[in-house]
Amino acid sequence: MPSADVVVIGAGLSGLSAGIALAEAGASVFVAAKGMAATHWSHGALDIAAPPRAENAREGLRWLSADERHPYHRLAGDVEAALALLSGQVAAAGLPYEGGLDTPFASVVTPIGGVRPVSVAPSAQLAALQPWGSDEGLLLVDFERFRDAWAAYAARNAAGVTWQATRPARIRGLSVELPTLDRVHNLSSLDLARFFDDPGWRARALEAIRIALPRTGRWRIGLPAVLGIEAHADVLRDAQRSLGHPLFEVPGLPPSVPGLRLFEALRSRLLGAGARFQFGFPVVEVERDGRRVVAMHTESASRTLRLVADRFVLASGGIAGGGLRGERDGTLRDSVLGLALTGPARAAWFDDDFLATKHPIEAAGFTVDDELRPLAADGSPAFENVHVVGSALGGMHYLAERCGDGVAIASAARAARCAIGPSAAVRGAA
């Protein structure tokens, strides 16, 4: 049975970040996830804090942290260091990100032609953040037979929405026939990305795109986010060289290739730091001794796997990730510890306005103390050696506030610091 200094439950951005920080600080770490997902659904840029009308993440952070229920009330001061840490990690894995708290938000086009505010993004998305020149057009490209990107539709929508600061002089959609795809009977972003990894196919595909481009005018090109996985850096460089215009990736439907790259970068850092990682099995039992968790059991083919640790980091996700569950009786519980959580009454779970505003259920989650330990009804820590990170934390509206990634990395950094604090070190040595 594996024993470790720290067991991390969950392998999204917060779980992986916490695992890396802990392992690099010398702790023995076991990351146990019930599956993969959070990163594979993400657009690959980082949402730090972009509530409506904020000009940069620092301003957004200040506004959000004013609400004492918001995770940023405790964590705002940790965000900048956590972002620097993460940027270093992904850069070391060959996936550099740029941008920071003071980078002004730019409107970046979405696959259906909306815009979202972005200030921190991987190299492949950076060109979208530059101010638009007065004669510069946006050319959205899709590929024949690829059903997850519709450039003409997105272009029409994007022309009708409000852009922050500058906007493209004109927006156009372009459909390109890429080589050999007519022989492929099933085409996802993943398949395309793997095709682009192949240098020979890539050269022919880029040539096909190049000759389809408008002959005149100044353009910036938005391509579906499929520019390679393993050879992504090479694909991006080749595309920039051969197309003759600035270009950026437009993240689309799952599976998100930019998210997959982020996951792989972090996973490789985690394993490189000596952590163990198992996915496929949820926590089914928690052994406790008073206010301490002694061990967590994950499901296995028969019996359970007993994971013993001094500290536990709960990166089990929110509603979408399966970390929080709504019961029929109207209670909200976390799916690992089974604690009742703060959240809206059942009648408010079914708001008609699903995504556009602050849905009440989004704010459901753990209430925690400064060490991110879950609080019991009386306000004292329900567990002394459990730290909650990421979207399992209550009090935020990560869609409207665009704060999920910032909360994930800041809480991961805080939890790692608390878990390897003096008390844990003493126990580890004993």
Binding site: M1, K34, M36, A37, L190, R194, P255, S302
Partner: protein
């Protein structure tokens, strides 16, 4: 058909209702990674399943190798690989099975002829012309990973040595060894190493009546044949399990069949089947658990150098971590390196088939390359067909972890005798082998997950 009409054991395909269409399974599928012939687990699994209740299932599902990574990656708890396996069984039920699949699945029958006729059969297996004939007539790929039959089966060795040596041990000091068909017919050395390591730790070993676990039949969709094997194994093992004996296997594939597949695929979910599932252990899982209790003899001798290790897909489906890595860390000087590769491609009989061999080879290619470039003289892996696939394709001798442990015990024993005869000065020398083998040296053993290259 509604959920209420479904037999209790047949809930597997209903888990596809949980699918949220996120495509995560497609990102991890090793087969879809290398061939466009397989549309990916999402399409042949949850997407196709809703059309399967009344009509015949589509046939592309037959390209699934059954590695199970999709099931583990799914965030919505859909039993994707299990659903696909059942879909294949439905195809087989409707259209029958090829002669080839019936032959390669019936490992017990093959061993009945193969072992007594080993010199003859092995000549055929080694002869390139006959293998070519075999590919053209039967559809068994000429380069498919096969092993020569042993001159003497494990069962025969066991009987000749007199069977159980530590007699009258209580259940908690006894293990029931499920050697499986591969150890019996092809790799009796693995079984001998297992017995040696278990007895070294004071455990009495019982070898009961047993047959092939039936996994080759399950993988090829022949559930009726598999059920016959499974029922006979359960009958033989259940009584031991209920009396508290642990059933230990050296193949993570067989033990996974006993633990999970009898229930999930074959719908064998009675009290006996449950007792067997709950009482079954992979040998490294057991030894690692013993180490946690301080009950494992850790007097391993030094085996300096890298040991590339590939945890098979079936092991990962156990959900028991990687116990072999934990054990390798106890061997002084050994640097075990996790392959960090999803699948070797063999997937039991999948890599033997003429029309699948290339896919299987492409799936494992990065792994073979890593092992080749590691510079190691041997590697380790817990499942037989994976071992053969890796060894044939990488050229690196690949053994079961328990064989490595047996070697490490022998290295420790020979050092002990060296130590006893050594002059007083030599044991003071820090460079002496004896000092490497001191109890403190076990901390020198280390393992790493770092990529090989």
């Amino acid at each position: 058909m509604t959920f209420r009409d479904v037999e209790p054991g047949a809930v597997v395909p209903f888990t596809t209702d949980n699918c949220i269409k996120c495509n995560v399974c497609n990102t991890v599928c090793p087969v879809a990674r290398v061939t466009d012939l397989f549309p990916g687990p999402k399409y042949v699994g949850p997407q196709a399943q809703r059309f399967r209740w009344d009509g015949p299932p589509d046939h592309s599902v037959d390209l699934c190798s059954g590695c199970g990574i999709c099931t583990r990656a799914c965030p919505a708890n859909v039993l994707i690989a299990e659903t696909n396996n059942r879909a294949r069984a439905a195809i087989v039920e409707e259209h029958g099975s090829s002669l080839r699949n019936r032959i390669i699945s019936d490992t017990d029958l093959l061993a009945r002829f193969g072992v007594p006729l080993a010199p003859l059969v092995n000549f055929g297996l080694r002869n390139r012309f006959l293998r070519w004939i075999g590919e053209k007539t039967l559809g068994v790929h000429r380069r498919g990973p096969l092993r020569p039959y042993a001159r003497r089966s494990f069962g025969s060795w066991w009987r000749r040595r007199g069977g159980t040596r530590i007699v009258d041990a209580p259940p908690e000091r006894t293990v029931v060894y499920f050697h499986g068909c591969a150890v019996n017919g092809f790799e009796p050395d693995v079984g001998r190493a297992a017995v040696e390591v278990l007895e070294r730790n004071g455990l009495s070993v019982i070898v009961p009546e047993q047959e092939c676990c039936g996994l080759p039949f399950i993988s090829n969709g022949m559930y009726d044949h598999a059920r016959q094997k499974a029922r006979r194994n359960i009958r033989s093992l259940a009584d031991y399990a209920r009396r508290g004996y642990r059933i230990v296997g050296t193949s993570t594939s067989c033990t996974h069949a006993l633990k999970a597949e009898y229930r999930e695929m074959l719908d064998l979910d009675d009290a006996d089947a449950r007792a067997v599932a709950d009482g079954t252990w992979d040998i490294c899982e057991l030894l690692s658990e013993m180490h946690d209790r301080g009950a494992l003899d850790t007097a391993f001798g030094p085996m300096p150098g890298p040991l590339p290790y590939h945890p098979p897909c079936q092991l990962k489906s156990h959900g028991i971590g990687t116990p072999a890595m934990d054990l390798f860390a106890l061997i002084p000087g050994m640097i075990a390196i996790d392959s960090d590769h999803d699948c070797c491609g063999a997937a039991g009989t999948y890599g033997l088939k003429a029309e699948r061999w290339q896919i299987a080879h492409d799936v494992g290619a990065p792994l073979f390359e890593k092992f080749r470039r590691s510079g190691a003289t041997q590697a380790a892996c817990d499942s037989e067909t994976c071992r053969w696939q890796i060894e044939d394709s990488s050229g690196v001798r690949t053994r079961h972890p328990v064989e490595i442990l047996a070697d490490a015990y022998r290295a420790g024993t020979s050092l002990d005798s060296l130590d006893a005869h050594a002059s007083p000065t030599s044991s003071d020398s820090p460079a002496s082998l004896a000092s490497l083998a001191s109890p403190d040296a076990s901390v020198a053993g280390q393992s790493t997950n770092e990529p090989l290259i």
